[in-house]
């Protein structure tokens, strides 16, 4: 066989080809063909190539080129789109640049707002009690038996001996921590039971538990939204919802606070724009608002929201942190307040177990499909340990007590109404302050009137917002707005006077201006709860009133 290997005739004899090259190439070709033929079905390939070569020799040439090109293309490194070649720097130049670089300190200390640290009350005992002993400023100030108007434990049910007994019983049987995320043996029978209890108490198909109330919104919204989805939000939502919108990747629009005409205009405009665009699939669309607003205490107009959401095909997301346990005859929140069915009106309800219910954690209410998706798509649910069992059982028990007896909700409503009535009918007080909260809110929020703010600090809500936003956009590390700070110090002086003169603890609303992406106003909030007496509240009102007038009437 090997003898038959000859110099191919196609090569011109004028070009000398070393015989070693020719014979080795021929050997290679010979063995390649021999082995190739051993592969089952190889002769079809050979036949095909031979035939096509006979029919059209150029085709073989082109195909060989194509194969070579594809190999070269496959092996070459992809160049990033838009990457610009950087000037080459020598090692020495690089070292010099590194040497020169001076980073900022990890955080920038700023004495101008450190006064806040000294004003944080440290409670000996529980902050949920009505009478508390507190110290401030590392124990330099101490106040015994102060009347507590700061606590969010509106219903005071989790202090009931029955609840405490159950909590202790659970600790004795389950320990404290759950030691695992929900998906990996962290959800115990008590967790599933609370989810069931929440769903049946609020009349939805299902519910999900989260480890901390502040994380819920910012985990739930991003679990459902992606680029191109639309979120229409109230422009006074709190930081947790603001964070959620930031993480949502969606296009966010704001409507004027609680202004349904503004919302309808916006929805109408968006609808028109969408019709023009002719998208391949409709995006997910959400309206985001709060039941009782964290910052102002106003109540969202649910009937109109539901009507608009149905008309424009939006889903409704409501943060009910402050309305659950407060609104409605039995504390079932916004829907009960307006007498609307929750399951068919609000698509996602976010609530907290750490306000009126007085335990820990947060939860989401909604239909089965949404809930099921959260159990795999929501980061704060999947990647975090579940709640301690005792906290879960506490919440279940409180829900059961609310179901059995609504007297604490009724009492709370009565006190809230009274408190608001005193403040809102006090003409002398209203010269200086504006009460923003609704009379049914258990937290009374008041702030300085615009005129007072202008007169005292030469600022307005807009001017503060603009300055703050300017600093945020320019990434100023020591974010500081002087007029805001002055107003906060002024409000703190009122709080201090109330504490020193009347032994009553109220609080500024704790706000981190640096983190707020929407206009916000410094304000003081007063919380009442169902275990207070009307007379106690009235006394407190009188003390607060005098303090406000004293400070505001000073020039």
């Amino acid at each position: 066989m090997i003898d038959s290997v000859n110099v191919p005739e196609v090569l011109p004899s004028s070009i000398p080809v070393p015989s070693a090259v020719i014979s080795s190439a021929s050997y290679l070709w010979f063995y390649f063909i021999t082995f190739f033929k051993l592969i089952p079905g190889a002769h079809y390939v050979i036949d095909y190539v031979e035939k096509s070569h006979q029919d059209d020799p150029y085709r073989t040439f082109v195909e060989v080129l194509l194969i070579l090109y594809s190999i070269v293309y496959f092996l070459s490194k992809p160049k990033k789109k838009g990457a610009v070649d950087q000037p080459k720097l020598s090692e020495k130049e690089i070292d010099n640049l590194i040497e020169e670089w001076e980073p900022e300190p990890i955080v920038v200390p700023d004495e101008r707002n450190e006064w806040r640290l000294a004003k944080i009350p440290v409670i000996e005992g529980s902050g949920a009690d009505n009478v508390i002993n507190i110290t401030r400023d590392n124990g330099k100030e101490a106040y015994a038996s102060a009347f507590n108007l700061c606590s969010f434990n509106f219903l005071q049910l989790s202090k009931h001996p029955r609840v405490v007994e159950i909590a202790k019983e659970i600790i004795k049987n389950y320990g404290v921590g759950s030691c695992g995320p929900a998906g990996f043996y962290g959800n115990e029978d008590v967790h599933y039971n609370l989810e069931y209890d929440l769903a049946s108490f609020f009349g939805t198909e299902n519910s999900v538990l989260y480890g901390q109330d502040f994380c819920v919104s910012s985990s739930v919204i991003p679990a459902f939204t992606k680029r191109g989805d639309v979120i229409v939000a109230d422009d006074k939502i709190s930081v947790s919802s603001q964070n959620a919108l930031q993480l949502s990747r969606s296009t966010v629009y704001y409507y004027k606070h609680n202004d349904m005409a503004s919302l309808e205009n916006l929805l109408h405009e968006l609808d028109e724009a969408e019709k023009k665009e002719k998208l391949p699939a409709i995006p997910r669309k959400f309206i985001v608002t709060e039941g009782i607003f964290h910052r102002t205490g106003e109540i969202a107009p649910l009937p109109e929201l539901v009507q608009l959401k149905r008309k424009y095909k939006y889903r409704l997301f409501i943060d009910e942190t402050f309305s659950i346990g407060v609104l409605g005859a039995t504390g079932r929140g916004l829907t009960e307040y307006y007498n609307i069915n929750r399951a068919t009106s609000i698509d996602i309800t976010v609530g907290s177990l750490a306000t009126a219910i007085g335990s820990s954690g947060g939860f989401v209410l909604g239909d089965n499909v949404m809930v099921r998706h959260q159990r795999i798509g929501s980061n704060a649910y999947c990647f975090s340990a579940s709640l301690p069992p005792y906290a879960v059982r506490t919440a279940s028990t409180v829900l059961q007590m609310m179901d059995e007896d609504n007297s604490s909700v009724t009492k709370l409503r009565y006190l809230s109404n009274k408190l608001h009535e005193w403040f809102q009918t006090d003409t002398e007080l209203l010269r200086y302050i504006e009460v923003t909260s609704h009379r049914d809110s258990s937290v009374l929020h008041f702030q300085l009137t615009d005129a007072q703010r202008q007169q005292k600090f030469g600022s307005s809500i807009e001017s503060v917002f603009q300055e703050s936003q300017y600093q945020q956009q320019h990434c100023i590390s020591d974010h500081f707005v002087e007029s805001w700070e002055k107003e906060e110090i002024f409000l703190q002086a009122i709080v201090d006077t109330v504490l020193i003169d009347g032994n009553i603890l109220i609080s500024r609303d704790t706000i981190v201006l640096k983190q707020e992406t929407l206009p916000v106003t410094p304000n003081i909030s007063i919380c009442c709860n169902s275990s207070m007496e009307e007379s106690q509240l009235l006394d407190a009102y009188n003390v607060i009133r005098i303090a406000i007038i004293k400070h505001c009437s000073e020039a």
Binding site: E102, E104, L117, F184, Y185, G186, F214, C215, L247, M370
Partner: protein, 562 residues
């Protein structure tokens, strides 16, 4: 559609057993002094590059084929379902003008792959997740669409909970402390930390935590995930750069994304890549403007929970100092569980804590409590107290949890029950090393370093995950199986979390069953290059031999590659 809400999980009453048995079920007594190991500090020595064992090519090929079949079947299922059974697929179709909650494509993996093995996840339990865990029996219906509960339970050996030091107990000093705190402080603190939620117990516990981790001050949060997710926006902005390990936890990524800072990732634990990246970034500066970065933060985890690997701290500290970067270490899994005195990565490597700028950790795992902490110098923490969102808007850590944290910390340091903490630390170190070396000798591929209490064992093919999990459950062992997206696509694995509550005999029981199941599922695929082999050949030891020799061998570093 029927789901969990329509079948209520029954509340299981506590078992009526003698107190001694209950204690033993939560925390097994030490059976012999020999089964202890005092781990040593590395005195600043860096880790070697890890050797990753890989199986023969056919294993990867089968794994890919496995996915291919599942995906093809899933698509056929989807096609038929969307054509003939529209009623059942309402959730992925448009309805009355509303877009579906999630798209068909995005949810494909979950609907068609994960749902098939849903019975391996979210198993409800009851009681203390200690040495044993009581799993509720359940019956799956309609391909895991929903479950029903006959009301019976199975006591399983617990290899799943993050109960590293065995503090998940309902007896003992920690429980007593938690109960006392419940009496004194109640279950609820009243509101955000800066408003009303700071009690003397918070101040005290923060001091203990700071002392324990070796920093001036610490701040506590009620949720571990939330600690990270709402942390970075307090001190980073879009002119800062975060250099992040590619396997960092979602909470860190969420937190960084919220802050708006630029992020660059480097290959997991690859210190050369990290150095190259830092140099390049300092020179290039911000991506568009090329102005210098305001600051650069390197974010790593102490112990990676899916890999069992550790951050190479000595090298990181060296780089951080050389290039004036800041170092953030998330010690979610390492605090309490690693190091001669349980103080985490610094303790393990023998590096002063002052070399790490910000130490974060969770209290859920080693301490049997809940929540997280951030520790740093006082001037930094003071700033965080003012700028972080959680203390201003979120709930505080409740009192019983604080009491659990404080008492477990004091147990570890020996302030309460001297000796007990040390024993727990020595037990977890022994258990971790014993199980790891034994698995390697049996021929399984495990990842991670010798002392890691997280031991991931590779299963590869996705179909072996449910098989392994179910077979172990039949044998009364609770394990966690994880797959894509938590791991690379073909590296499905089972993760054993070792606890100080386990006895050596528990691990023998576990090994015997893993050995049996491993043979049936063809899981022994290691080549021996990452350890377990004495002669360089693939290790396939006999189980009796392993149990006989490993308890002594595992105390010897020369059997491990670290």
């Amino acid at each position: 559609m029927i789901s969990i809400s329509s079948t209520r999980v029954p509340l299981i009453p506590p078992e009526d057993i003698p107190l001694e048995d209950k204690k033993e079920n939560e925390f097994g007594q030490l059976t012999s002094e020999e089964y202890l190991y005092q781990s040593k500090s590395r005195d600043g020595k860096a880790l070697q590059d890890p050797i990753l064992d890989a199986p023969a090519y056919h294993v990867s090929l089968i794994t890919y084929l496995n996915y291919l079949i599942l995906i093809i079947l899933g698509h056929i299922h989807d096609f038929l379902g969307l054509t003939f059974q529209k009623e059942k697929h309402k959730d992925i179709m448009e309805q009355d003008g509303l877009a579906p909650w999630f798209s068909t494509f995005e949810s494909f993996y979950v609907r068609r792959l994960k749902q098939r093995i849903d019975d391996c996840f979210s198993r409800p339990t009851t009681g203390v997740p200690g040495r044993f865990i009581r799993c509720l029996d359940r019956v799956s219906h309609n391909l895991n669409d929903y479950f029903t509960y006959p009301g019976t339970t199975s006591m399983c050996l617990n290899l799943s909970s993050y109960n590293y030091l065995g503090f998940a107990q309902s007896e003992g000093q920690c429980t007593t402390a938690a109960l006392e705190a419940t009496d004194k402080y109640g279950v609820y603190s009243g509101g955000p930390r800066t408003r009303i939620g700071t009690t003397d117990l918070h101040v005290m516990t923060e001091k203990y935590v700071a002392q324990f981790v070796g920093k001036e001050d610490a701040i506590l949060f009620s949720m571990g995930y939330g600690t990270n997710a709402n942390f970075f926006n307090s001190f980073l902005d879009s002119k800062c750069l975060v250099i992040s390990d590619s396997l960092n936890h979602t909470s860190i990524r969420t937190g960084v994304r919220l802050s708006g800072a630029a992020v660059k990732t480097f290959k997991h634990n690859d210190m050369r890549a990290l150095e190259k990246l830092i140099r390049e970034q300092i020179v290039q500066g911000q991506s568009k403007t090329h102005r210098p970065w305001k600051k650069i933060i390197i974010c790593v985890e102490g112990l990676y929970s899916m890999e069992g690997t550790m951050a190479n701290l000595p090298k990181l500290v060296e780089l951080k100092k050389k290039y004036k970067c800041y170092l953030f270490v998330d010690e979610a899994h390492s605090i309490g569980a690693m190091g001669p005195s349980g103080r985490g990565v610094c303790d393990f490597f023998g590096i002063p804590c002052s070399d790490i700028d910000i130490m974060m950790g969770t209290l859920t795992k080693s301490f049997g409590a809940a929540g997280g902490y951030i520790a740093a110098d006082k001037w930094i923490i003071d700033r965080f107290r003012l700028d972080l969102t959680t203390p201003h808007y979120g709930e505080p850590t409740p009192a019983p949890v604080l009491a659990q944290i404080a008492s477990s910390l004091k147990t570890i340091t020996g302030d309460i029950n001297p000796g007990e903490g040390q024993e727990r630390l020595q037990r977890i170190a022994f258990n971790a090393r014993y199980l790891r070396l034994a698995l390697q000798r049996l021929g399984f591929i495990v990842y991670g370093i010798a002392d890691s209490p997280v031991i991931p064992m590779l299963l590869y093919a996705p179909s072996k995950m449910p098989a392994f999990s179910r077979m172990m459950l039949q044998r009364k062992i609770a394990v966690v199986v994880v797959a894509y997206p938590a791991t690379p696509l073909i590296e499905s694995r089972v993760r054993f979390c070792v606890s100080a509550a386990l006895t050596k005999e528990d691990i023998d029981y576990l090994l015997q069953h893993i050995n049996e199941v491993g043979d049936k599922l063809f899981l022994k695929v290691s080549s021996g290059k990452a350890g377990g082999s004495l002669d360089g050949k693939p290790p396939r030891w006999n189980i009796d031999e392993v149990i006989k020799r490993t308890p002594t061998d595992c105390k010897d570093d020369s059997f491990f590659r670290i």
